[in-house]
Assembly symmetry: C2
Homo-oligomer: 249 residues x 2
């Protein structure tokens, strides 16, 4: 029996957003490896080994999965959203690059998913309907100076922006600095979406102007989308629609 590793995107939370390809891989797997809250989303069944680990242990988790596959196991590494967007796919390849040569020739597949920014955008309307960028605001893996530089250039390019990992208990102040940079670069009227726990029972959306945005509006389960200069609201009964037209002003 030959082993394999699949890195599977479970989407943002709801089972209705898990692709059939990912469900099929989970059915064929002998082992599931991942951050505990994501492993908890996989249905248990006899013969399926679940290996849950802590956050920030991506490289160890990847090495564990590769070692299991080398032993002939069929391993799914589960990621939230899409595994290629600020998630486990890059960590797996980092482990392969620095690991034993035999790991390179394993059967490895990345199974795409619905990434959080697209699920969040869909709930609010279409704020990413024109050119946009995605930035991981965690400064665990890059210096603040680079984040600031990217924010300023993205604003100058008039991209809509989606932020992953805007704020955590370990980094309570970074997002306040992000909002400060954006206020300088985009002015107070720019529209922002805070989308928390998208597609989960405790989902919460709010749309505010940059002048009214506060750091406390975000946590690690929040995606923040900043509109471009063209992003606007369509008022109606209930929640307005937030969208960016396809053509540029």
């Amino acid at each position: 029996m030959s082993g394999w590793v699949a890195v599977a995107g479970l989407g943002p939370g709801s089972a209705a957003l898990v692709t059939p390809e990912v469900s099929a891989a989970l059915t064929e797997a002998t082992d599931v490896v991942g951050y505990a809250p994501y492993v908890a989303r996989v249905p248990e069944r006899p013969g399926l080994m679940l290996h849950a680990s802590d956050n920030r242990e991506e490289l160890a988790r990847a090495a564990h999965a590769l070692a299991l596959a080398t032993d002939g196991r069929r391993v799914v590494i589960v990621s939230s959203g899409d595994p290629g967007v600020f998630a486990m796919a890059a960590a797996l390849f980092e482990a392969i690059e620095t690991g034993p040569a035999t790991w390179r020739d394993l059967d490895i597949r990345i199974l795409p998913g619905v990434t959080a920014m697209l699920a969040a955008a869909a709930r609010a309307g279409a704020p990413l309907g024109h050119d946009f960028c995605a930035i991981n605001l965690s400064d665990n893996l890059k210096p603040w100076a680079l984040i600031e530089r990217r924010l300023r250039l993205a604003a100058e390019a008039d991209f809509a922006m989606a932020f992953y990992n805007p704020r955590s208990r370990a980094r309570p102040d970074g997002f306040a600095r992000v909002l400060g940079v954006l206020r300088e670069a985009c002015g107070p009227d720019r529209l922002l979406l805070f989308a928390r726990a998208i597609s989960c029972p405790d989902e919460r959306l709010s749309i505010v102007r940059l002048g009214d945005a506060a750091p406390e509006m975000a946590d690690m389960r929040t995606i923040v989308i900043v509109g471009s200069s063209a992003t606007r609201l369509i008022e109606r009964r209930g929640t307005p629609i937030l969208y960016t037209p396809r053509s540029s002003a």
Copy 2:
């Protein structure tokens, strides 16, 4: 009976990448509206009306869907990939913004999907594993000067970049100019992925250096991904892995 409109992302091509949420909406629909090749991907069944239209008729298509829903029909507008990324969601909201006031209060949902750049990235490895941007290279809806400006700023920000609609028969020359700008901004060694017809039977991937890239490598069914300065290859038997590490150099 009250009508609704859902804009559904069918993913890049394979049925294994269509979410259960989208499949459920298609099951409940009375009408499917969309560009003919996407409508052709919807299974026919008695009582389901299929309304296929030409490309570049997005606003008329959206108005048609809204009129049907006003009459109490349950309408799915089908999009390739994710409907919020260079697809039908923004066109629908443009139609709503300029249309009759009653359209604003219709039941409207955007159903996210696996967008082409993420499916393409997954096939090649994880080239979008760090901060990135997505740019529509069609200049039907924006001036070339803006495209060039965004390319230069994205290169300066050291984003990986994903390009949608890089080249068409109506715009044979734009992509050559894009490659010229990128060569100036990123040098000849930058890695590029050309991913055509991702997840379809005629899928084709190629990875080249910018100095070897030619405009003819792309057409309207191609997604082009340009690596950041950190994007690299892991050589192995068969196709190498293309990926961008999570941390910055």
